[in-house]
């Protein structure tokens, strides 16, 4: 600043200039903080993890647990109930699927992913049939909003689990028990067949050992002369099993039809929205049965997807856009693949897509044509910006 600066006439100006000089003498150019932001975030939320299968545990005929260790340093912390998105390359197709961590957060030597076979499950079947110890994968760091939030969930917890929905439940339960939380935790664990129950022996032992953990098994296709509880988790059934108060917190996790059914049943019991958490579970299998599906369009219709400046391909209406993009060699960042996390957001330049209720779009997304490609179904030829 020149000495003849007219601001010298302003009250306080010269003092401030002197104060600035003083600051300059004691300050740094921040070069000592080089890399600090990146390193700080990497300890909590690294963008990618490189994981190696250290052990494969056969849980049932249809289910395996894959124990994954980090190839570099300790695994980041997570909240029990969260998932990682596992990237795979299957016969040249780069894709990914989110899996809840079934191990507890108090140890971070490994993450367990418990995977149950799904009919025609592209990735699930690959994992169960082809993955071996020593194999490496990339994944996201743990994410998701399905966990016990101490700010409002309280200590009266009921988990309605269906099938592999027991995976996040197991992590949450062990976390509660390890940290000796003063919670009452009640699992109502539904399965079609007894033989499909995952972790059932361990759960029965834990229920005997801990007064604050209750396990209720409900079988929908019981063998003859089965003595236990049978049927579905109807409102009446849930009411008879759990002592529901205003403070009860419900967690629901299972296949999408199970989630939808349970949500409806607890709502019938007058349970408020704020007392129910439901884990999303992929795109809808039958979007054409949902309201607002265009009547003139059928799931098998073929449409053309054009990626601006890059190319085009044909795909079926009934296939989520993200999946067809990946099958055709395009990639978009993704994680939850259930419409929630918004990482797979792309812009539709022309054409219409069907956005099911799973798509948690922002108001302005709808306005300016942004969609969540993981749950979007193109109902005519479209052009997108990737």
């Amino acid at each position: 600043m020149p000495d003849n600066n007219i601001l010298n006439a302003v009250v306080g100006y010269q003092e401030a200039v002197k104060a600035k000089e003083k600051l300059e003498q004691s300050g740094t150019d921040f070069s000592e903080q080089k890399g600090d932001v990146g390193n700080t975030i990497a300890k909590l939320h690294p963008k990618r993890l490189t994981l190696e299968v250290s052990k494969i545990i056969k849980e049932t005929e249809s289910t395996k647990t894959f124990r994954l260790i980090s190839t570099a340093g300790q695994l980041p912390p997570f909240q029990a109930g969260q998932y990682i998105n596992l990237f795979v390359n299957i016969d040249g197709t780069e894709t990914a699927r989110p899996y809840a961590i079934s191990s507890e957060p108090s140890q971070r030597d490994y993450y367990d992913l418990t995977v149950k076979r799904v009919h025609e499950g592209f990735v699930t079947n690959y994992l169960l049939d082809h993955v071996e110890v020593g194999q490496q994968f990339l994944s996201t760091s743990p994410m998701g909003t399905f966990y016990h939030n101490p700010l409002y969930h309280g200590g009266d917890l009921v988990f309605l689990a269906g099938g592999s929905g027991i995976a996040p439940a197991m992590s949450m339960l062990k976390d509660v028990l390890t940290r000796k939380q003063p919670f009452n935790f009640h699992f109502i664990y539904a399965s079609s067949y007894i033989s499909d129950y995952i972790f059932i022996d361990e759960l029965r032992v834990l229920a005997k050992q801990h007064n604050n953990f209750t396990l209720t098994e409900v079988i929908s296709r019981p063998p003859e002369d089965y003595q236990g509880i049978t049927g579905h988790l109807s409102a009446d059934r849930i009411k008879s099993l759990a002592n529901i108060t205003d403070e009860t917190m419900f967690y629901i996790c299972g296949p999408t039809p199970f989630n939808d059914y349970c949500q409806q049943q607890v709502a019938e019991l007058g349970v408020k929205n704020r007392r129910v958490r439901i884990e999303a579970n992929g795109p809808p299998k039958n979007p054409d049965t949902l309201s607002n599906w265009p009547t003139s369009v059928s799931m098998d219709d073929e449409i053309t997807v054009t990626v601006t400046g890059k190319g085009s391909f044909t795909a079926k209406v009934g296939e989520p856009l993200l999946n067809s993009l990946e099958r055709n060699g395009y990639s978009a960042e993704n994680a939850c693949r259930s419409g929630e996390c918004s990482l797979c957001r792309v812009k539709v330049v022309t054409g219409e897509v069907f956005n099911p209720p799973e798509a948690h779009l922002r108001k302005s997304d709808r306005e300016f044509g942004w969609i969540h490609s993981c749950v979007a179904f193109p109902t005519e030829d479209i052009e997108i910006l990737l």
């Binding site: 600043m1 306080g12 300059e24 150019d29 990482l343 779009l361 302005s364 300016f368």
Partner: protein, 506 residues
């Protein structure tokens, strides 16, 4: 190699306005953004039935349709006025200090005066003079001073900016003390200090004057669909003008040749040639990590040494299953404090102790469409320096976060006692969350600490690397209006420079 006239690094407010103004001004522009969505902190996220506004509390500078102010022209020039809908707020804020203060100020210059005079009759004449001073200092420092400085004529300064000379650079506390005896009144008038991040004793009076005058005269606003709607509208305008954007694509290096920008290397390793780079990243990141120099340019280094890291924030985003009325909300913006001592509040920002002052913003009070019927969208905020959070062990992070959140809820519940029992969705953001999403040192939300020395009055424009320009809050004020304007101003400068180069080469 692909060539662009300009590459803009970062699609925050200033990056978006810079890119849009550049492209609309005829420069072929590439916008790089490391996230999947434009906006930086001007964004939103969805949980359940709620869409949470991340950062915007009160947009300033719009004025009304009948009495427009500068941001209407800026947004019009950027082609977004017809793409967004603004919502006017009726109140400036409610100030609540248990047992001491509970007052709500209207967003109206005349109404503000009469409300304050009614509440503090003994200070009536002083209030008249103080508010006139606020408007005079605002006009002098933001309209007249820039013209006068060009003349460098002290007589011009004395003739045009007499109030600025006497008051503009004194501390806000000093001026409040000169005018008033009533401590409560001083606290009520100084509430907006948290939009700057430094207490009244460290804040130049001109900043407080402009906040009070501009919000009351030109009104506080919000946006339908939140700040994300404006971010997306800016991007739309940029794309319509032919701009190119890449998401999930951070810049890794700014490449130079003989201290002249030649391109940008992205995190995927691709090199892009360009004549100019506009960085919307923090200046610390830009010069210390992105620029391909081993050490930052000497004038930058010197400038940095007189800067101090600014504040971050701790925010709780909440969807409540009750209406704003049921919650007791009478104003969109609410400041709640356990003390009237701003020094103490600022000291607390440097600790993990229980927060002693915070804010609650209710987004569907003035805009019912901001939440589902029968529900409320609120955020609870307290300012806090970010470095405190860096030393917390990763496995302790979640628990520390929730414990601190409980304290902030306790504080705010003194004014709004029913919050806890209505929580339907909640997400907690710490300074590390700000760091993660904004990529700023210390998770800073307003850039460097906005002490008097941070002001441009004490800084020369630095042109250390030819073709490299900054746009954002790091060499300007923080906040929405300042960053939108900073981006636009930088674009004008770059357009001029590119044009000059064109002529040179012609």
């Amino acid at each position: 190699m692909e060539h662009f006239d300009a590459v803009v690094i970062g699609a925050g407010n200033a990056g978006l306005t810079a890119a849009t103004a550049l492209q609309r001004g005829g420069s072929k522009t590439l916008l790089l953004e490391r996230h999947n969505i434009p906006g930086g902190c001007a964004t939103s996220f969805v949980r359940g039935e709620f869409e949470f506004e991340v950062a915007l509390h009160q947009l300033s500078g719009l004025g009304t349709e009948d009495s427009p102010f500068i941001m209407r022209k800026v947004f019009n020039d950027l082609g977004v006025m017809d793409k967004v809908e603004f919502v006017q707020e009726g109140e400036l804020y409610r100030m609540f200090v248990p047992g001491e203060i509970d007052t709500t100020l209207p967003a109206c210059w005349a109404g503000l005066k009469s409300k304050l005079q009614e509440d503090y009759p003994k200070e009536s004449d002083k209030l008249e003079a103080f508010l006139k001073l606020c408007s005079d200092v605002t006009v002098e420092s933001f309209m007249l001073l820039p013209q006068v400085r060009k003349t460098n004529d002290e007589n011009q300064l004395k003739a045009n900016c007499p109030n600025f000379i006497d008051y503009g650079l004194r501390s806000a506390k000093d001026v409040l003390d000169e005018f008033f005896d009533d401590e409560k009144l001083k606290t009520v008038l100084a509430a907006y200090w948290c939009y700057i991040g430094v207490p009244p004793s460290q804040m130049p009076f001109q900043d407080l004057a402009v906040l009070l005058y501009a919000y009351a005269e030109f009104k506080p606003w919000n946006i339908k669909g939140g700040s994300q709607a404006l971010s997306s509208a800016l991007l739309e305008s940029f794309l319509e003008a032919g701009g190119e954007v890449r998401f999930n694509c951070g810049a890794e290096k700014i490449l130079t040749n003989d201290n002249q920008v030649r391109g940008v290397r992205t995190e995927t390793g691709e090199e892009i040639s360009c004549s100019a780079v506009v960085s919307n990243a923090s200046s610390v990141m830009t010069y210390n990590e992105l620029l391909d120099h081993d050490v930052p340019p000497i004038e930058i280094s010197k400038d940095f040494k007189s800067r101090r890291m600014g504040t971050s924030a701790f925010v709780i985003y909440m969807g409540l299953d009750c209406t704003p009325e049921e919650l007791g909300v009478t104003s969109a913006s609410n400041f709640v404090g356990n003390t009237m001592d701003e020094e103490l509040i600022h000291d607390c920002m440097n600790t993990m102790d229980d927060p002693v002052a915070g804010m609650l913003t209710c987004y569907n009070f003035d805009d019912p469409s901001a939440a589902p019927a029968g529900k409320s969208l609120v955020s609870l905020v307290c300012l806090q320096y970010g470095d405190l959070w860096k030393d917390i062990a990763p496995e302790q992070y979640a628990q520390t976060k929730y414990e601190y959140a409980e304290k902030l809820i306790d504080l705010i519940e003194q004014a709004f006692p029913k919050i806890r029992k209505h929580i339907e969705e909640v997400e907690v953001a710490t300074p590390l969350t700000m760091m993660r999403y904004l990529n700023t040192p210390g998770g800073a939300i307003y850039g460097f600490k906005q002490n008097p020395q941070d002001s441009n009055l004490f800084r020369d424009h630095i042109d250390a690397v030819s073709g490299l320009h900054m746009a954002g809050c790091w060499n300007n004020m923080g906040g929405f209006q300042p960053t939108y304007m900073a981006g636009e101003a930088t674009a004008k400068l770059v357009l001029k420079e590119l044009k000059e180069k064109e002529i040179e080469h012609a």
